[in-house]
């Protein structure tokens, strides 16, 4: 009953073109999701996929897109490129496009396959490698743009800052470094130190000492939660208290307490984390001053009531929202083929996430959909431990940043 090849049907005015994964009779669309549900990256993959799932479940329950229902077929990639390729091969013939491909190395592994098949990839990877690719649809701000924006913020509030950065030695970290470097140059800031670490490290004394000895008073961490917390803790125990700036993925509410919310036991490092700036582009969970928040919370309560406040869940929800707009455009054009989807993405224009994320823009000239960053501060009392201190903004350095590809 489902179609794996393309087909054309005449309903009403003109032919409705469909591609793989589209069942015209049942008005259903199948999307593939390649995401880590096990291993360390499941921490990201699980809530993110749940958010996406919640959005589509709610959409389907409320009449879908003009009656079209969206189904997700999920495969666990374990964040392993080899598995990703296998799963891609498994999914590709039966889906219209990939609703999610999480991770940089994993998405890279299927990049050439997907582009030769002309499949759109909803890309949950924030390093800027994908922003100029036709087939990748990315929401949110690339890491490089985030750090560049952060440098603008620093130039406004601490123009004399002595800056340092510690970044993870991979695609994520080098992207953060790129924006940091661009921002420092653009705003004539004083960079005094940089250091890097590997994802498998357990001790970070030397990196922290490098910052301390260079006299850095403002330090960017393009890191993952455990290393980031360890660095902050190490510094605190040395009596070294710079202004920490966390790249988005460095933050996790579980760094503050054993349950991720105030019901749990506070961690040893929690006091040292208070006051850290977090770069993000997502609204704070529960901040109902944002237009889309009420609906988001309602959907979450209905479909994933056990979900603790988690940015990845919100991100997944927004990814789905972008894809809904994309599909709506393709349906309107009566072209649910892969080519039609790609075309729809190029001409999607601006999408309003109801304030959950800054508006995103998709045009044929590609580039990041979004160059805005907000800044929050860790606050022991705030919901999700975060309080926004600077709403979304785009700096000139971010605006003028160029990307390869």
């Amino acid at each position: 009953s489902t179609s794996t090849g393309g087909s054309t049907a005449s309903t009403g005015s003109g032919a409705f073109k469909t591609g793989p994964g589209v069942d015209l009779a049942a008005k259903s669309i199948t999307l593939g999701v390649l995401t880590p549900l096990s291993g360390p990256a499941a921490l990201i993959g699980s809530p993110l996929t749940n958010g996406q799932k919640a959005y589509f479940d709610s959409l389907n329950a409320n009449g879908g897109i003009n009656g079209w229902k969206v189904n997700l077929t999920v495969q666990d990639t374990k964040y392993d490129p080899q598995t990703q390729v296998q799963e891609y091969n498994q999914l590709a013939p039966g889906v219209l496009f990939l609703g999610q491909s999480l991770g940089s190395p994993t998405t890279q592994a299927i990049e050439s396959l997907a582009s030769s098949a002309g499949i759109l990839v909803g890309t949950a990877a924030q390093d800027s490698a994908f922003v100029n690719q036709k087939i990748n649809a990315v929401i949110g701000t690339p890491y490089a743009v985030d750090t560049a924006n952060a440098m603008f913020y620093v130039s406004q509030h601490k123009p004399a800052a002595k800056l340092g950065i510690i970044y993870q030695n991979d695609a994520y970290g080098t992207d953060g470094l790129k924006g940091f470097t661009a921002g420092v140059a653009a705003y004539n800031l004083n960079k005094v130190a940089d250091a890097t670490y590997n994802a498998t490290d357990t001790a970070f004394t030397s990196q922290v000492l490098a910052m301390k000895n260079a006299g850095a008073d403002t330090v960017v961490l393009t890191a993952l939660p455990t290393p980031a917390a360890t660095m902050v803790g190490t510094a605190a125990s040395m009596g070294y208290h710079p202004q920490w700036i966390f790249q988005g993925p460095a933050w996790s509410e579980f760094l503050m307490s054993s349950t991720g919310d105030p019901t749990g036991k506070a961690t040893a490092v929690a006091p040292a984390l208070v006051g850290v700036w977090i770069l993000d582009y997502e609204a704070a969970w529960g901040d109902t001053s944002v237009a889309g928040m009420n609906q988001f919370l309602a959907v979450q309560k209905q479909y994933f009531p056990t979900q603790v406040p988690d940015n990845y869940f919100l991100y997944g929800y927004c990814l789905a929202l972008m894809e809904k707009n994309l599909l709506a455009k393709a349906i309107a054009a009566r072209d649910l083929t892969r080519a039609g989807v790609l075309d729809a993405k190029l001409h999607l224009g601006t999408i309003d996430f109801g304030g959950l994320l800054p508006n995103a823009t998709y045009t044929p000239s590609l580039g990041p959909a979004d160059r805005q960053t907000g800044i929050s501060q860790v606050d022991a009392g705030a919901p999700g431990y975060l309080k926004q201190i600077e709403p979304y903004f785009t700096s000139s350095a971010a605006q003028s940043m160029t990307f390869a590809g």
């Binding site: 890097t196 970070f204 004394t205 996790s252 006091p271």
Partner: protein, 297 residues
């Protein structure tokens, strides 16, 4: 100078964790001639369990540590009783593969049991530290060093006991050991239980402040390999000294190499322990304290 001292202290603290991991390796190796590839996972399991007992179970830390170490030792025991028992007389290689099987099981059992969020290890010291001579010495780290030394001394006496001798005999020749009346199963069971015990203790300290606990904590075992080889794989003293040495090498390299030997590339400290290990082995093929095989034609 304070930088040097601070790095050295950090290195020794890190080294004490390596030492505890290395002791786990040697105790199994001395009895079985086998490298236990599940040591890292046993460590992770012990640390998670202890943390869970404190944070969710509400046990006081010391009690939790005793229970956690006991259960982890029990895993070692169970592995011996349910699996290795049937592998008596099998090639060492096969047994190594069996430990890989255990590693796979434990690794995948941790997230479902404890979740994969970073979490605190539940120790009572938290971020408290001793401030002396311009240095900051975290209590967790001090305790970690003390524990490593205490465990070393305990192992030293244990090895000199009749039981320790039985362990070495078992490692030398299982069949002959049985033939002289050494209860192999009991010997192996004790070795595995001890491995579990020190794994748990090591795990708790790996995840002590300023670090946090996450499922990748078992990776520390990989970093302990140079320590056990450097010390000599069958030497208890070697394991501990190797651990301290490697910890210090790693931290000092991390602290100074970017400044003075930057051409060696970013993060050379990760490769440095292995470079040191290889250099030592080229001079002493059986490590600093390891015994050469007594073989002749």
């Amino acid at each position: 100078m304070t930088t040097f001292a601070q790095l050295l202290f950090a290195g020794i603290a890190l080294g004490s964790v390596y030492a505890l991991v290395a002791l786990g390796f040697t105790v199994v190796f001395r009895a079985t001639r086998v490298i236990n590839f599940a040591q890292g996972e046993m460590l992770a399991f012990g640390a998670f369990l202890t943390s869970w007992l404190v944070l969710s179970g509400g046990l006081p830390f010391w009690l939790a540590l005793v229970v956690g170490a006991g259960v982890t030792a029990g895993i070692g025991l169970a592995f011996q009783a349910l699996v290795l028992r049937f592998a008596l007389g099998r090639p060492d290689f096969t047994v190594v593969m069996l430990t890989l099987g255990l590693a796979a099981i434990l690794q995948s059992a941790i997230p479902p049991l404890f979740g994969s969020n970073p979490r605190a290890n539940g120790d009572p010291w938290g971020a408290s530290a001793l401030h002396a001579a311009g240095l900051v010495l975290n209590w967790v780290q001090i305790w970690s060093i003390v524990t490593a030394v205490v465990v070393l001394v305990a192992f030293y006496w244990f090895n000199r006991s009749h039981f320790g001798l039985a362990m070495r005999a078992a490692a030398a020749d299982e069949e002959a050991a049985l033939a002289v009346g050494i209860p192999l199963r009991r010997v192996f069971a004790v070795a595995w239980a001890l491995a579990g015990l020190v794994a748990c203790i090591g795990g708790v300290f790996v995840a002590g402040f300023p670090s946090t606990l996450d499922p990748t904590v078992g990776n520390v075992a990989l970093l302990a390999f140079p320590a056990i080889i450097l010390g000599g794989i069958d030497s208890t003293t070697g394991a501990v000294l190797g651990g301290f040495l490697i910890g210090a090498v790693q931290e000092l390299t991390a602290g100074y190499q970017p400044q003075y030997l930057s051409w060696l590339g970013h993060n050379f400290y990760l490769a440095a322990p292995y470079v040191v290990m290889i250099l030592v082995l080229l001079v002493r093929p059986y490590g600093l304290f390891g015994s050469r095989p007594a073989e002749r034609l």
